[in-house]
Amino acid sequence: MTQVAITHTQWQPICQRSDLVADSGVCALVGGASGASKSIALFFIPGAEPQLYALDNWDPVAGAGVIARGIVAEIDGELTVSSPLYKHHFRLGDGACIEDEAVQLASYPVALDGDTVCIAIDEG
């Protein structure tokens, strides 16, 4: 994987490498800038480039926090997650919904610092 310069002011650790499940998602809770917490879906695809992805866990189509529990599917060469409730596909790379342009999940920079998974969440 590419080496990302990690400065701890920008990046926050959220979990350990051992918490991740290969070729699947897990969910982590991070504190937002305003103090409100946020559910993040983390996907770990060994062998892919990049191999880590972070999206909002909230599925706006279903109205439930379930994105991390979706199955990872390659569609037309791009990695997506299929939301478990109504099966909309969201691109792991940028959170765009394949079926509906109007729907978009936020995506976040995510990287490994040794065995620690770190994420950068935008302000505001």
């Binding site: 979990c15 918490d19 499940v21 070729d23 969910c27 982590a28 559910s39 439930a64 390659e74 060469g77």
Partner: protein, 850 residues
């Protein structure tokens, strides 16, 4: 528009299948209002299915066989006089008089008096233990006479005689067939075919005496002794307890004769192509009628005559009857027999091609014209797979291929040369059950049907006996190809195989992980189609835990967490309750667990309890308690066996004939955990009342006095389908063995997410083929199927029990990997004393500060 006018008086004499068909067709037409209808019926009940009369002995009731209902006739406004034989027609006064003395006027009269069994005038034939085989009363009398007897004889080796012999066998008698001619079914079969049929039938325990004429029947010590003529081969006499005469039928034309209507030389009411008799006001239809010096003794031509007469009555004079094809395919005592056209090769210059396989008991003969260009007739015994194709050649006058013998020879590579659908004219009948022509199928495809299933839905083709499935697929594929539709049955873009092919690959190469499969046979990284399909195949074959490391990422929504995800992201939990039997203690545990975790409870349609609203992180805790109380996972989340529903059976129910609960328990415990292309539902009913609704299940079992009847491929839900009767009166062991084979064959060959009902409808050869594979072991794979099932049964584990004892697997059920906090976005409100997911507007309210 129909002008109101004085109604015509229409009398129909006879209420057999053809008479009933005539009236049923009339009732469906607007012209019904033009007639006052009276029906005379000599029998005590309205029309019933005489073609399947023998099934009366196999357990079908009078109600099952009934075609017409008294109430139905009342609704139609037709007067139905049961048990009242018409005895006189006065053509001058236009009246009909009945045995009870009723006199009715007619403007138009339809004779549908049918036929009567011919009884050869052998001295002694009037004995009270001599019967004929035509009505339900005849069958009741035969059954009564069979009690305490050991031997039964049928005189007549035609189609009906062999049916009767089977019936005697069903009644537990040692059955004999005595035939005057040198061969059985001499009308439909040639010498070779009838010889093979005789051998096969004798193998089944029916003794056949051909070239045997009965001289005398006399009573000896309460039994009957039949003496045969001197030149008869073999036995000179036979002792029996009863005799059934089935030596052919004769048109029932007495009434017509006494009314002075024109008859044929050897009987039969002469009709023209409008089905009119020599009296223009009187029609005759069915087996009593003689057209072109021929009596049509099959039901289909009778129906055609009925429709013709009706059309003529309604003024459609262009509708005519010009004869009918008498080709027939049937199963006699389990032996397949087919006869097409000129089976005896009587046409001038006719040439024959014959194939005989004495080893497996197959006889096939084609009759062609002198040039070998056209098919004039055919005889098939022991294997009628080629029947439909040959019939198409015959009916449509299609040129035979250069080497016509290939049509009946077993093909070297295992695939018979198929008749190109393109060779068939648009008028060719593809499905004879639903009378669907090639033209209708072509129209359906042109109208937007792009799959076999769509065409079946739209036209009903191949939804009857299924015999035309291969031909139908041919036509559909050809039409789709002509329209430029590419028929691609690849699983998905990652695997250029069907599910069946993939299953085979995984099995043969013993592939155990998705990565290995993808690397060797696929491309890319897989998707939500191929991943769960592969996971299901691995589970069916190797039965490893679905959450074992390499399989975790392959599971879809519900399998991923072994629970059913509900709309708010929480789960429902369904413990297994085999057969629906549950102790009070276990019920209490379910209640306690539901209360403790605040779960909404509901009884399912499969006789279990569903617990809703469990958060992800609660699942291992809930299952820990359930497993401690002795529960197991119910696989409500899996494409696997769901439930085996049962009625209470003979243990409690005063009607039950078998212990249906015990059987349901055994079956459910045997097949629980079996992963399959789609979910599987089963049921066991303890008697014919069918309280467990087994006929709407993939596998349905219904108790009989002698054992179990097995039904397969039923479905409820969106596309209901009645299950098909697959095996009758089988014992416990045979039942389980048959289900083993059936399920494994389905698991092996079905498409992804294809229920058994759709699978069967798409299976070439349909139910007959399925029976050949599962019961007759035509493919020689049954041992393997059973072994495979034994492996699945032997390696069963409760997935939840394994999971909660494995810390790595339990980790997977954390809501958040970095904190134990619950998901605050999951909110419940109370309704009718139980929790339910809060709606959006309710959540806002809760969030607002008071």
């Amino acid at each position: 528009m129909i002008e109101p006018r004085v109604k015509q008086k229409l009398i129909v004499i006879g209420n057999g299948m053809v008479g009933h068909h005539f009236l049923e067709q009339l009732a469906a037409r607007p012209e019904k209002e033009l007639f006052d209808v009276t029906v005379f019926c000599a029998e005590p009940r309205p029309a019933y299915d005489r073609v399947h009369l023998s099934e009366y002995f196999a357990g079908r009731t009078i109600d099952d066989l009934a075609m017409g209902k008294v109430e139905q006739y009342r609704d139609w406004g037709f007067e139905l006089l049961l048990n009242d034989t018409a005895v006189e027609i006065d053509r001058d006064k236009k009246t009909v008089t009945s045995a009870s003395g009723t006199v009715k006027n007619y403007d138009r009269l339809v004779l549908a008096t049918g036929s009567y069994p011919f009884v050869p005038p052998i001295p002694g034939h009037e004995h009270e233990k001599c019967f004929v085989y035509r009505t339900i009363e005849d069958l009741d009398a035969i059954r009564a006479a069979s009690e305490g007897g050991t031997v039964g004889v049928v005189v007549g080796g035609g189609l009906l005689g062999l049916e009767a012999a089977n019936a005697l066998k069903e009644l537990g008698l040692e059955a004999h067939v005595v035939e005057f001619a040198p061969g059985l079914m001499s009308v439909q079969l040639d010498g070779g075919g009838s010889e093979l049929l005789k051998n096969k039938i004798e193998d089944l325990g029916v003794t056949v005496h051909t070239s045997t004429a009965t001289e005398l029947i006399e009573e000896v010590d309460g039994r009957l002794r039949m003496r045969f003529q001197g030149e008869s081969k073999g036995e000179r006499e036979l002792l029996t307890d009863l005799i059934v005469f089935s030596a052919g039928i004769r048109p029932e034309d007495k009434l017509a004769k006494s009314a002075g209507l024109q008859l044929g030389e050897r009987g039969g009411i002469a009709v023209d192509e409008s089905c009119r008799t020599s009296d223009e006001y009187i029609f005759a239809i069915g087996e009593c009628a003689l057209y072109n010096n021929f009596v049509y003794g099959l039901v289909a031509p009778g129906y055609t005559m009925a429709r013709t007469a009706l059309a003529q009555l309604c003024g459609e004079t262009s509708e005519v009857f010009t004869g009918a094809d008498m080709s027939t395919k049937l199963k006699l005592l389990g032996v397949q027999v087919g006869s097409i056209g000129d089976a005896h090769g009587r046409a001038e210059g006719a040439a024959a091609i014959t194939f005989v396989d004495e080893q497996s008991g197959v006889y096939k003969r084609m009759i062609t014209d002198a040039e070998g260009k056209k098919l004039l007739g055919a005889v098939l015994v022991g294997d009628t797979d080629d029947y439909d194709q040959l019939l198409q050649y015959h009916l449509n006058d299609i040129d035979l291929p250069e080497h016509p013998e290939q049509l009946i020879l077993p093909a070297a590579d295992g695939a018979a040369p198929a008749l190109g659908a393109g060779a068939l004219p648009a008028t060719a009948t593809i499905c004879s059950c639903h009378n669907v022509s090639k033209g209708q199928i072509v129209d359906a495809v042109a109208g937007g049907c792009c799959s076999l299933a769509d065409v079946k839905d739209a036209t009903k083709a191949s939804t009857g006996c299924g015999g035309c499935a291969a031909l139908l697929k041919n036509v559909v594929d050809e039409e789709l190809a002509a329209l430029g539709v590419e028929v691609n049955n690849h699983l998905c873009t990652h695997f250029p195989f069907t599910r069946q092919e993939l299953f085979h690959i995984v099995q043969v190469e013993e592939i155990k992980t998705f990565d290995a499969l993808l690397q060797k046979h696929g491309s890319g990284r897989g998707c939500e189609i191929c991943k769960p399909t592969a996971a299901s195949i691995f589970a069916s074959l190797w039965n490893e835990h679905i959450l074992k490391k390499p399989h975790v990422g392959l599971q879809d929504t519900n399998d991923t967490f072994m629970a059913n995800m509900q709309k708010n992201g929480t789960y429902s939990v369904v413990p297994r309750v085999p057969g629906g039997e549950i102790s009070p203690d276990k019920l209490i545990v379910l209640g306690q667990v539901a209360k403790k975790y605040n779960l909404y409870t509901k009884i399912t349609g499969g006789q279990r309890v569903d617990l809703f609203g469990a958060r992800l992180e609660q699942l291992p805790l809930i299952w820990g308690e359930l497993i401690d109380a002795g529960f197991e996972t119910g696989h409500a989340y899996g494409k696997s066996l769901r439930t085996v529903k049962s009625c209470v059976g003979s243990t409690w129910c005063r009607f039950g004939v078998q212990d249906s609960v015990k059987m349901a328990l055994d079956i459910e415990n045997r097949y629980k955990g079996l992963r399959s292309p789609h979910k599987i539902k089963m049921a066991v009913s303890g008697c014919t009342r069918e309280c467990a609704e087994a006929q709407s299940k993939d596998v349905g079992v219904i108790a009989t006095e002698k054992g179990w009847n097995l039904f397969v491929c039923g479905n409820g839900g969106m596309r209901p389908r009645h299950a098909d009767l697959f095996a009758t009166d089988i014992d416990d062991e045979t039942l389980v063995k048959t289900i083993d084979r059936f399920l494994m064959f389905y698991v092996r060959t079905a498409d992804k997410l294809q229920r058994t009902s759709v699978w069967l409808e798409n299976l070439e050869g349909g139910l007959d083929y399925l029976r050949e594979v599962i019961v007759d072991d035509k493919l020689g794979i049954c041992d393997e199927l059973e072994a495979q099932m034994a492996n699945v049964v032997g390696t069963y584990q409760c997935e939840w029990k394994t999971a909660i004892n494995d810390p790595e697997m339990v980790k997977r059920f954390r809501q958040f990997v970095n904190t134990d906090e619950p998901d605050e976005k999951i909110v419940f409100v109370e309704e009718r004393g139980q929790p339910r997911p809060a709606r959006n507007e309710e959540i806002v309210k809760i969030a607002e500060p008071a």
